[in-house]
Symmetry: C2
Subunit: 230 residues, 2 copies
DNA sequence: CAGAAGAATATGTGCATACATAATCATGGG
DNA sequence: CCCATGATTATGTATGCACATATTCTTCTG
């Protein structure tokens, strides 16, 4: 029945879950048993099950075995590209204006979010990104100078903060919060939106190897949609 | 230097990318070479590299080799739980009201989004979800009756459409679009928000094994923030 | 009978090997 | 010189084996 690969095995298992043969809560056979039944090596079954566990369809615990999840959460992978790439991907011309560049101690909400001591020395950058000369998004960023002293000497007119960071600290972890916010007076003005307009807003904090790097708020112009694959 | 496992190998590789030893665009050594250098089996290097490829840090192609990505996009994993679970996770009481239940042909935008013929027979459901008796989110759903004829006989007063679907078709694929929308008159009323308020809105289309299942729009009450891990 | 010590077991991972597959690269014919 | 074709090569994956590790289950002891 099997012949080809772990994908085939995975499809078979998904099928059994979806058609009700293994309803939520079912303890399913051990890897070794499945391997024998499907005529493949245990490694192959393991690969298939690992995938299902990653996507949340099953829960696995050593010795306890593999159980079909009761409430499999939907997982969507958001891909947040470099801003320039995103604009150019729409066939538009990208530009950016640096509106503010100021070394300043971190205000309380920022230092708290990054788990830094109050008033840690930071670089505050505000940049407006344009697509075909129309406002696209506002980048309001606080950069931790202790982690990135080089930033002090960078010309952010030439390279956007967004892009400079990615080139310098490509691999980061962090968290993200997505919300809809009404446009404040200044923001409305910069994004050419009516005051109070609904704006998609991303708040992001970034660490690298345990060191706080940056906190940023991205405010998109009205009408922007973020897409993700499930 | 190595000793334990693919994670250690992965950390080592991430380190070399992050500290500039392998800048973006670099073609890195073949798996076999890395395996020898790090004193592990190729399988282990492969595991580490596969992880990096999944998170977008490197691009891999057969024969061509592994290249450090030029613009590693940030990837965030959004976990969208069952609505009831989410509300209860905040320590609040969940309830829902079914506001509309109507069999009707799909309007054009819905059938287009699901790649179905125009006016395909569907079930239109609107439900308001409450957290501690306060409006939490509005669920506006179109269900493909051809794929799920059982839905015709379900009492959606007892089980929310959201939850019924998850129990019936646990594993689905689809796409998701996230935006900020101003509250329309009806929506504002139902969510107890001022008209024009900024509301986080999710639009989702769902397939199972190539068959269109449902299209849904979730409109959250003001102030809602969606969180994700990077 | 409670609680600690130990056996049993399912998953997690590493390794060596083999073959599959997709690109690329080199080669030779027109 | 161009292009088709086949050789080369890096990744992709399967397999059998071994051992690690986290739990659970069992049993022994006070």
């Amino acid at each position: 029945m099997s012949r080809r690969g772990w994908q085939e095995v995975q499809d078979e298992l998904i099928g059994r879950i979806n058609d009700g043969a293994w309803p939520p809560g079912t303890l399913l056979p051990a890897e070794t048993a499945l391997a024998v039944e499907l005529g493949v090596a245990r490694t192959t079954v393991n690969r298939a099950l690992r995938g299902l566990a990653e996507s949340g369809l099953v829960d696995r615990k050593r010795k306890a075995g593999t159980v079909v999840a009761e409430h499999p959460p939907a997982r969507a992978v958001l891909t947040i590209p470099v801003i320039r790439k995103e604009v150019e991907g729409q066939g538009k011309t990208w530009r950016h204006h640096l509106l503010l560049r100021e070394a300043a101690p971190a205000p309380a909400p920022i230092s708290a979010r990054l788990h830094l001591p109050a008033r840690a020395p930071m670089l505050h950058l505000v940049a407006l990104h344009l697509a075909d000369k129309r406002p696209f998004l506002l980048e309001d960023r606080w950069l931790n100078l202790a982690a990135l002293p080089e930033a002090e000497d960078v010309d952010f007119h030439a390279t956007s903060p967004n892009e400079w960071l990615l080139a310098h600290v490509p691999y980061t972890t962090g968290d993200l919060s997505i919300s809809a916010e009404p446009a404040g007076e200044d923001t409305a003005d910069l994004l050419a939106a009516p005051e109070g307009a609904a704006l998609l807003t991303l708040d992001r904090a970034t660490w690298n190897d345990g060191r706080a790097i940056t906190a940023v708020r991205l405010t998109y112009a009205p009408g922007y949609k973020m897409r993700a694959a499930l």
